[in-house]
Amino acid sequence: MKIAVCIKRVPDTETRIRIGGDGASIDEGGVKFIVNPYDEFAIEEALQRKEKAGGGDVVVIALGPDAAQETIRGALAMGADRGVLLKADRLPADALAVAKALAAELKDGAYDLVLFGKMALDDYNHGVGPMVAELLGLPCVTAISKLELDGGKGVAEREIEGGVEVVEFALPAVLTAEKGLNTPRYPALKGIMAAKKKPIETRPAALGEVRVSVTSLGLPPDRKAGRIVGEGPDAVPELVRLLRTEAKVL
């Protein structure tokens, strides 16, 4: 089974965001970067599928700056076989431009599965995975929390508002992973050592034309300071009164 996993380097979720000098991006000084958490579920799924099939090839592809090599190395330490860095010093805000670069890389790879996280925790798009599928003409199921593969067919579950969709598709396919799909493994020391010797190819990202630009990035307005209504259950009537007469939400 040949599987590609597309991953992204993003700031740690505990990062306190500061705006950079250009007013359109974050100040990366002192920011710790991690692999996008949803991508970890995609990596884990690829590894489990390969193990179940008794062989195969798991290729990890990242689009980003040189520093994304570290992100790829982390996936190799988990057990992926090799990596590809599509180099772009700055990631555009245009998800389709990114999707085009990834699709160009994936097009002739003869992959049975192409996996993504359901979204990246920095720009909060849910776009690149399904866009790549459309560009490649492959079936796609997004935000899956359960997956069964049987021969050339698959059944996945995805959470929707108030329920779960059971979705059928044929391979090859593009899938994007929701939290809960599996439990990502921690790299073992042996894996970390082995990862150092695994190959990472680097080539420039063939980004499509960029037609969305960030004109500004700002911090959200501070919420005006609230107040402590009181202590214990005796404060409840006053709270309810305020919700009704002042906040007008009842």
Binding site: I17, A93, A95, H126, M131, E161, V166, R211, G226, G232
Partner: protein
């Protein structure tokens, strides 16, 4: 003159609440651009009736695509139909609600139209001849302004953000061709418990954290939710990771970002990643025993104390207020 296409969403033949929101958002954008709004309704035979009232929220025309395979969400079929309608209509923007289906659909439409995409936007405008969008990034820790440089933009709009008003448009219904494509088929929808609301869409969310001390105590929150006349129950990452509650209920950076009218945080200290997910709520109430908990810094109203004593009282008082 630039026109806007709003793609709506139905379930079991009835339009979802977000459909009226997306048509209303399209109306605002179309008015700014001096254009008209077409609303697209996709469903099985008979879904036409569901589209009849979209004129109220701003549709000049309602385009109905019926196919048996559209009874449930059909990813490739919906995308192919919406893209064909969008191409034929020459719209300047295609709007979709950023629901579970919409987040899946919008990128597919964008790819098929070779159009740029903005996801989960909280504002959309037209300035100096360009469509612009405002959207939260880093789970709401920052707000991004985007500008499109393309003849057509695909935009998904955040649920609960565009409150529909009354536009009084004609909303004349006509049929358009459905493009069925069953490469991906939603075989069934396993419904959650009857009447269970999703945290991302509910107008009131009551969330619990580790302060509840165990999964069995979430019944207290469910009672409170019921007293509100149907609120969604949410959870912090800590309790989801502990297996007390399902991931679908998680509010925060690796869960859902919510913007309800009222958010009640119970026994949640307020980690950065949680605050990011709920800080756009209109009103925030926090109940916590620790008066120094960070949650009180974003809460409009706080009550300090033992939640096990406070919750039953609050449930009673809310029920009374609702009844009165």
């Amino acid at each position: 003159m630039v026109n806007v296409l709003a793609v709506t969403e139905q379930r079991d033949g009835a339009l979802r609440k977000t459909s009226r929101e997306v048509v209303w958002a399209a109306r605002q954008l179309a008015d700014a651009m001096g254009g008209t709004v077409d609303a697209l309704v996709l469903g099985a035979a008979g879904v036409e009736a569901a589209g009849a009232k979209l004129g109220e929220v701003g549709a000049d025309r309602v385009l109905v695509a019926e196919d048996a395979s559209f009874v449930r969400y059909s990813p490739c079929g919906y995308a192919g139909t919406a893209a064909a309608v969008a191409k034929a209509g020459g719209y300047g923007a295609v709007l979709v609600a950023a629901t579970a289906a919409g987040k899946d659909l919008a990128p597919r439409i964008a790819a098929r139209l070779d159009a740029p995409l903005a996801t989960d936007v909280s504002g959309v405008r037209f300035a100096d001849g360009k469509v612009t969008a405002t959207r939260p990034v880093y789970a709401g820790k920052a707000i991004q302004q985007l500008r499109f440089d393309a003849p057509v933009a695909v935009i998904s709009v955040r649920p609960n953000t565009f409150a529909p008003g009354n536009a009084g448009k004609a909303g004349a219904v006509s049929k358009v061709a459905a493009v069925a494509d069953v490469r991906v088929v939603v075989r069934e929808v396993k419904a959650a418990e009857q009447g269970k609301l999703d945290v991302a869409e509910a107008s009131v969310v009551v969330s619990g954290g580790r302060g509840l001390k165990g999964p069995e105590h979430f019944a207290l929150l469910e009672n409170l939710a019921q007293a509100f006349g149907g609120a969604a129950v949410g959870a912090s990452r800590a309790v989801v990771d502990a297996g007390w509650r399902p991931h679908a209920e998680q509010v925060g950076q690796t869960g859902k970002t919510v913007s309800p009218q009222l958010y009640v945080a119970v026994g949640i200290s307020g980690a950065i990643q949680h605050l990011a997910g709920m800080r756009t709520a209109k009103v925030i109430v926090a109940i916590n025993r620790d008066k120094d908990a960070p949650i009180f810094q974003v809460a409009d109203y706080g009550v300090v104390g033992d939640l096990f004593a406070i919750l039953p009282r609050l449930t009673d008082e809310i029920a009374k207020a609702k009844a009165g």
